[in-house]
Amino acid sequence: MSVKKLGLRQRYEHMTRGLDWETSYQPMDKVFPYDQFEGIKIKDWSAWEDPFRLTMDSYWKFQAEKERKLYAVLDSFAQNNGQTNISDARYINAVKLFLTGISPEEYQAHRGFAFAGRHLRGAGTRVAAQMQSIDELRHLQTQVHTISHYNKFFDGLGEFPHMHDRVWYLSVPKSFFDDARSAGPFEFMIAIGFAFEYLLTNLLFVPFMSGAAYNGDMSTVTFGFSAQSDESRHMTLGIEVIKFLLEQHPDNLPIVQKWVDKWFWRGHRLLGLVAMMMDYMLPKKVMSWKEAWDIYFVEAGGSLFQDLGRYGLKMPKYADIATEEAEHISHQNWAVFYQYTHAAAFHTWMPDAEHLDWLSAKYPNTFDKYYRPRWEMWAKMEKEGKRFYNGALPQLCQCCQIPMAYTEPGDPTTICFRSSKYKDDTYHFCSDGCKDIFDAEPEKFSQAWLPVHQIFQGNCGGPTVPDVLNWYHLNNGVDNMDYVGSPDEKIWNEWHAENTRKAV
């Protein structure tokens, strides 16, 4: 008797999708009520490819090993007071933005992939989404554990969940993920699985984490790269999703293209915060945002869309505008936070001479012409005791929720304003990209909880800035304002002044 043994692939199929069955006591459409309304047509779920073929036993084994290593680093970092060995305490402000703005989104991704992992009809897809769900929980939890140690010494970290639901600039990432979470399961997979994880997440995790390493933050770089090792599975899921949808039915192409356009632009706007972290908040720099954009979007994204071209999918709309903006966005964002530093839970500063020269070298087309003069003027005003604060609340873009501070394509000296009418109201946007997104789903985007509107409507603790800061749980005079003169600076200087021998 000859027995035909299973290959790896068939074995894995038995272990996952072989578990699924067509329900008969309840209709399949009731068991999976959400995977039809978006108009995506799936003829054959079994055509789904599982490139990683990870069973739970291997998952537990690999992940446990990663976690043992990671927590050993975290423990030794804390025991050795590793926070005293970072390049400069200014660096911690990037960590603050990370914990308040990014970690809660890891959590949102966790719950969102649980939704996709339950409600997509294909078993292979569900298993991959569930593994990503549990990975994303890992990322949130390891980030909280890593940054917990910094919270013991530095300000602005202690109220991250409370702030995330309230603070004006944190509504940028929050609304991004609320948008994805309130979309259907296929759009969620394209938004987070493809556009965010595949196309854009490298920009956050590779150069920024490399920057953390360079700035002596061994704990953040360890969770960052350890998280990234899950990310490669997530990227594989993201690219499989888009290929699968495009292969299943030609009618899916226009829907997927619309989502790719939307989520590319949403992601580009969101990552402007990371651009600022890289160009302005890392005391020691690895590469500029523009360089990272060229490697990870222009080159890697170019290869990807060349590949996806065989399905008829095109480069995202406004990709050219985004690439043009890569030479401006970090500077324009830093300018916003500098002038609203009294309302932000991290510190700002004007770059020193060496930093200015680095920016000039990295941005030869734009920095000296448009931004250096402004920075030099603000530095001069600081010296004269006239530090510039913007006392007016900014108008926000209805879509990305960033203050309207971006400039016209081709004209970096004119602020870009767009608007649309919907049900007798006028809505305002920072760009054509954001306006298009609103115009495609006005009912959704007109609901946005816009922080400045909410302040004016009296929903944020009171009419004055201190009232609002109090409502944010933002410790006025401690968490906010310039780095120079902050308690963070004070503790840093104490560590570095007192450990030298003093002759009496």
């Binding site: 790896l8 490139p51 990683f52 073929r53 990870l54 291997s58 690999f62 090993e65 990663k66 490298n202 995790f205 590779v206 150069p207 984490m209 490399s210 920057g211 390493a213 360079y214 770089v221 790269f225 990234q228 090792s229 899950d230 990310e231 490669s232 599975r233 990227m235 594989t236 690219i239 690895v286 590469m287 080159e299 890697a300 170019g302 290869s303 990807l304 060349q306 590949d307 065989r310």
Partner: protein, 90 residues
């Protein structure tokens, strides 16, 4: 335009044999060193061969283990018992 297939690995003792195997097995590989990580790029396709890693590691090694040190990648993944390959070929 040639499409870039890419693997980014941690700069660590565990990753070193894999990095060396990639450099040996992929002629023309371009290496970008960054703090903590190394990015390895090739035109069209880049591969990690199980046998090459095992030779350097001195023990058996499954391509799935690359996940412990993998930071990023670009290309379509093809993984089986003997190799871990990213490519833009079809």
């Amino acid at each position: 335009m040639a499409q870039t297939a890419s693997i980014t690995l941690m700069q660590s003792d565990d990753a070193r044999p894999i990095i060396e195997a990639i450099i040996a097995d992929n002629p023309g590989v371009r290496i970008l060193n960054m703090p903590g990580v190394v990015k390895l790029d090739c035109d069209d396709s880049i591969t990690v061969k199980r046998a090459s890693v095992e030779e350097r590691l001195g023990r058996s090694w499954e391509p799935q283990e690359i996940q412990l040190v993998l930071v990023s990648m670009a290309g379509n993944l093809d993984e089986d018992d003997d190799h871990f390959t990213l490519s833009w070929r079809h």
